[in-house]
C-alpha cells in the first residue's frame, strides 16, 4: 500500500519511526541526483542528503504542510548543499581542464571530455545559478515546479538559468 507523504508523516509523528524510511527512500531517489549535480561529488552529496534527512526528522513536527513534505525537505537539502559548497573553495581554472581537441573523431569521447570540462565550469556559477540549472537541465523540471520547490518566481528563475547558460557558453568557449 503506497502511502502519501502526509500519511507517513502522521505515522512517524505518532511514534512509528520506522515509517520514516519510506520518505527517505522516496526523496533520496528524487533528489539524490540534484545533490550530486549541484555538489559535483557523490560523497559530499551523500553526506548532505543524509544530514538533511536527519534534520528533517528532528524537525518533522514543524513541517506545516506534510502533504508537501518533498518541497519542505528540498529546502533543507538545498541548505545543506549550500553549506557544503561554501566549505569547498574550488579554484576554477578552466585552463587546467582538458584542452579542446581540434580533431573531433569519436563523438562519445568528445562528450566525455566536454562533461569533464563542464564540471569545472559549473564551479564558476553562483549557487543559485547552479541549483537552477541543475533543476532545469539535469532534473528536467518545469519552471512552475522549480518555483514551487525554491519559493522563487518563475521570471527570476528563468533569469538565473539563462545567465547560467550564458556563463557556461562563455567559459566553455570553442568547446561548445
Amino acid at each position: 500500500m503506497a502511502l502519501n507523504d502526509a500519511a507517513i508523516v502522521a505515522r512517524v509523528l505518532a511514534g512509528d519511526s520506522d515509517a520514516y524510511r519510506v520518505l527517505v527512500e522516496r526523496y533520496r531517489a528524487e533528489f539524490g541526483r540534484y545533490a550530486v549535480a549541484v555538489l559535483g561529488d557523490s560523497d559530499a552529496a551523500a553526506d548532505a542528503i543524509q544530514e538533511a534527512f536527519i534534520r528533517a526528522y528532528d524537525g518533522l513536527a514543524s513541517c506545516r504542510e506534510p502533504e508537501r513534505f518533498g518541497s519542505w525537505f528540498f529546502r533543507i537539502l538545498q541548505n545543506q548543499c549550500r553549506n557544503a559548497l561554501a566549505r569547498v573553495r574550488k579554484t576554477v581554472d578552466v585552463a587546467d581542464a582538458d584542452p579542446a581537441s581540434p580533431h573531433r573523431t569519436d563523438a562519445l569521447v568528445e562528450q566525455a571530455e566536454l562533461a569533464a570540462v563542464l564540471e569545472t565550469a559549473l564551479g564558476a556559477l553562483t549557487a543559485e545559478q547552479r541549483e537552477a540549472l541543475v533543476l532545469k537541465h539535469v532534473e528536467g523540471r518545469s519552471y512552475e515546479e522549480m518555483s514551487q520547490l525554491l519559493g522563487v518566481g518563475v521570471d527570476a528563475l528563468k533569469m538565473r538559468v539563462h545567465r547560467a547558460r550564458d556563463a557556461l557558453r562563455e567559459i566553455l568557449g570553442g568547446r561548445l
Binding site: S42, Y57, L133, V138
Partner: protein, 215 residues
C-alpha cells in the same frame, strides 16, 4: 561580453522547451551541445544509494529508543539526542586503515549548546575506512547496528579503499568489518581492541562530541 557569446532569446526559449522563433545557426549548434553536455555530465555521476537510507535510519532509531528496545530498557536514563553535524576529515595515506572524526562549524542560527547535562547527548558522524583491495564487499557491523553485516555496506573507492560515513551516538562502540559477507576482521587502526568473549577481537571506538581532538 560581446553579444554573440550569449545565447539569443530564442535559443533560451528553445532550451526551456517553449515556443520560439528561428535560432541563429551557431546558437542552434551550441544550444544542442550544451544540453547534451549537461546530460552527459549528469549521467557520469553516481547517485547516492541505499546506504544513505540505512545511515539515516540508524540515526533515527537512536532517537527513538522506545521503538526498538524491550521493556526493561526504559530503566536506562533518558536521552535527548540532538544532531551535531560533524565533518569527517579523511587521512591522506592510502595504505592504512583510517578512522577519523572532526569538528566543523555550527550552522548559523543554531541554539547555544547547554553545559553538559545528564540528559544531553549528541550524535556524531564517523567515517569507517578499510583498505581491502581483494574484497568483493565490505561492511561494518557492531554494537551500533545490532551486529548486522548487511546493514552498513561500505562503498568502494579508488586504490582498494572502502568507506562509509555513519552517525553514531557518543559513547563507546564495538565493531568489526565483514568482508564478503563472512570474514569478520577487526579494524587494524582502531583506538583499542577488546576480547569479544567468543575468542575473537572487537575494535573499540569511544566517540566524544568533539570527535578526534587534534593538536
Amino acid at each position: 561580453m560581446r553579444p554573440h557569446d550569449e545565447f539569443g532569446p530564442d535559443a533560451h526559449r528553445y532550451l526551456d522547451g517553449e515556443p520560439h522563433g528561428e535560432l541563429r545557426p551557431d546558437d542552434q549548434v551550441r544550444a544542442d551541445r550544451l544540453a547534451a553536455a549537461l546530460r552527459a555530465y549528469c549521467a557520469r555521476l553516481p547517485v547516492p544509494g541505499a546506504e544513505v537510507d540505512d545511515a539515516v535510519m540508524a540515526a533515527v532509531r537512536v532517537r527513538s529508543p522506545e521503538r526498538r528496545a524491550p521493556g526493561w530498557r526504559w530503566l536506562v536514563e533518558p536521552r535527548v539526542v540532538r544532531i551535531r553535524p560533524v565533518w569527517v576529515p579523511v587521512l591522506a595515506a592510502a595504505a592504512a586503515v583510517v578512522f577519523w572524526l572532526g569538528p566543523r562549524a555550527w550552522t548559523p542560527g543554531a541554539p547555544e549548546r547547554p553545559p553538559i547535562a545528564a540528559a544531553a547527548r549528541d550524535t556524531v558522524y564517523v567515517r569507517f575506512e578499510l583498505v581491502a583491495a581483494g574484497a568483493r564487499t565490505v561492511a561494518v557491523a557492531g554494537s551500533f547496528n545490532d551486529w548486522r553485516p548487511e546493514a552498513l555496506p561500505l562503498a568502494r573507492r579508488e586504490g582498494g579503499a572502502w568507506s562509509i560515513t555513519v552517525p553514531l551516538p557518543i559513547g563507546e562502540h564495538e565493531y568489526q568489518f565483514v568482508l564478503d559477507g563472512e570474514r569478520w576482521v577487526p579494524d587494524p587502526t582502531a583506538q583499542a581492541h577488546a576480547d569479544d568473549g567468543f575468542g575473537g577481537t572487537n575494535s573499540v571506538i569511544v566517540v566524544g562530541p568533539k570527535g578526534v581532538v587534534r593538536s
